[in-house]
Symmetry: C2
Subunit: 326 residues, 2 copies
């Protein structure tokens, strides 16, 4: 089964053909993959981000619109005439957000409320929101978490994601603005840069490929649900095409993997023995986060297709080629 | 049993004696009553609000501090040296908040995050937050609602209250800042001005006393949980003195009353036949909102004491005397 970001788009349904789609956060890891998939599905794609020009590889396929998400005029221009808006802009990584929750709220909740006003004024058909399955649930919720698990975020990032879901529901109720919020697990795969706060798979794999020891926060027992970027992209498309009544759905692999086991798998793939250095744990870490995505499967037919070993190998190939190119 | 705002304070526990208490929103309906109760309990009371001077009746008892809640310096000055901070500032009524959710968030979520930063910097011992039992729960939640009912607010006001509860929990977890959030039902009683968005009992009673017909949104079938201001004040004090692990508790009467029945009771009390004019319903109205306060009773011993007929008569006396004085 093909699983790289470049080939996955060919598997997408084609009913987005000719639909005007806006990807907010189009230069990010998920945003770039989504734009490529939408272009492959023959949608008319506009990508929006703070960069003044399109990132490499996107220029030919999608129209690029540079602007600040907290600039109402820029957002109004971006949403004008759009049918489906994919909202993938998030200001900070979960742990960082706790350093300044007010700043996090200013960068996420407030501009999103500006987006909702602009979207209803422009008559946007649907907003597909990238919520966060890894941060909205209570740390002591039963895992895998279903959508009805208690929502008690332990990061400002998660609180903002949850509040935005509720503002989306409010705009739906008040103004008929349609939405689907996907509570996405930890995405990984080709295109994710190592060294970023959320890219733990890319970081561990990159270090293993370079023969360096893994550096892990805590004792490595933290468990996450890693879902391949191609599966996330397919989930976004499924959410855009979904015609049922459910508005909030998990999208994860359903499998829990400890950070330590990821480091070990990365080392094995790189052909070396696992070397792990442990650093002091971060209080923002949920001990275990795994998503039950049965609702999404039942409602949309979506199900994760990329298996872990394959996805990891795929990511390793991309990291090597990216290094070669850089 | 005494139930007016002036006499109730004598029933309060006295263990707040000498404690430095700040009441944010000290000039509001609940804020004034709370200040009086705290003074009667021999606390050292500071009241904060946007007014430049203390409202009548508060000047002798509490220190007044005028300032804007979104001014970090004013808030820092207010919380300096305080042991217990009662946060009663809410920007708008629920229905109004839906006209401009972004403005509501700017006036509630953001300055509250400023407060939390100031409170942790100042080493405040506890924040008691006036959350909203009438707006945080899902409209289709089973009633009376317990604290574990689904939280799906249908107003921006309710979304902000819920988000603030979660930010309080975050600051507790990250910085040890202690808090109790009270999900208060619809407060009524002496001191509440008729004609305000939230003062439906005062408004209906005032019109009945003046021989005017009641004006009701919708068909009057909307059911609310009306809790007397003296009981709310006692709930705040109980929350301030509480030493258990629970942080979010309902505080209501547990009885549901339709708006129509309130209008009828008000007319009967005024000695006339009920006259009701119906106006188009507001989409922000929950059909039924009644709170189960068993958790609060179990944890703190608090229980509502003012019965409805007594509370209504009490409110009527105050309205007449306020009119006489005005």
């Amino acid at each position: 089964m093909p699983s790289s970001a470049d080939t996955a788009a060919t598997e997408l349904p084609t009913t987005l053909a000719g639909r005007r789609c806006l990807v907010l956060g189009g230069a990010g890891f998920l945003g770039r993959a989504l734009c490529r998939a939408l272009v492959a599905a023959e949608a008319e794609v506009t990508a929006f981000g703070r960069q003044s020009a399109a990132p490499a590889g996107l220029a030919d396929a999608a129209r690029w619109l540079g602007g600040a998400f907290d600039d109402p005029d820029a957002v109004a221009r971006a949403v004008a005439g759009q049918e489906i808006v994919f909202h993938l802009i998030g200001p900070r990584a979960p742990a960082e957000s706790n350093r300044d929750p007010a700043e996090d709220a200013r960068q996420s909740i407030l501009p999103t409320l500006g987006l909702l006003e602009a979207a209803r004024a422009a008559g946007v058909g649907r907003i597909v929101f990238a919520s966060s399955g890894g941060t909205v649930y209570a740390p002591d919720a039963a895992m895998p978490a279903t959508e009805t698990a208690p929502t008690e975020p332990i990061t400002a990032y998660g609180i903002a994601k949850l509040a935005i879901e509720k503002y989306l529901a409010l705009y739906h109720r008040l103004h008929g603005l349609d939405f689907v919020a996907l509570r996405i697990a930890n995405a990984y795969g080709p295109g994710q840069l190592p060294g970023t706060a959320q890219g733990v798979v890319a970081t561990l794999l990159d270090r293993a490929l370079r023969g360096l020891p893994a550096e892990i926060w805590g004792d490595g027992s933290v468990v996450r649900d890693f879902v391949h970027v191609d599966d996330v992209t397919r989930a976004f498309v499924a959410a855009a095409l979904y015609r049922g009544p459910v508005t909030v759905m998990n999208a994860g692999s359903g499998a829990g993997r400890s950070i330590r086991s990821v480091a070990e798998d990365a080392a094995r793939l790189a052909g070396g023995a696992p070397q792990i250095r442990y650093r002091a744990g971060r209080p923002a870490d949920m001990p275990v986060s795994v998503l039950d995505s049965a609702l999404m499967r039942r409602e949309t037919g979506w199900t994760p297709q990329v298996d872990w070993d394959e996805g990891l190998a795929d990511t390793a190939r991309w990291l090597k080629s990216a290094r070669g190119a850089g």
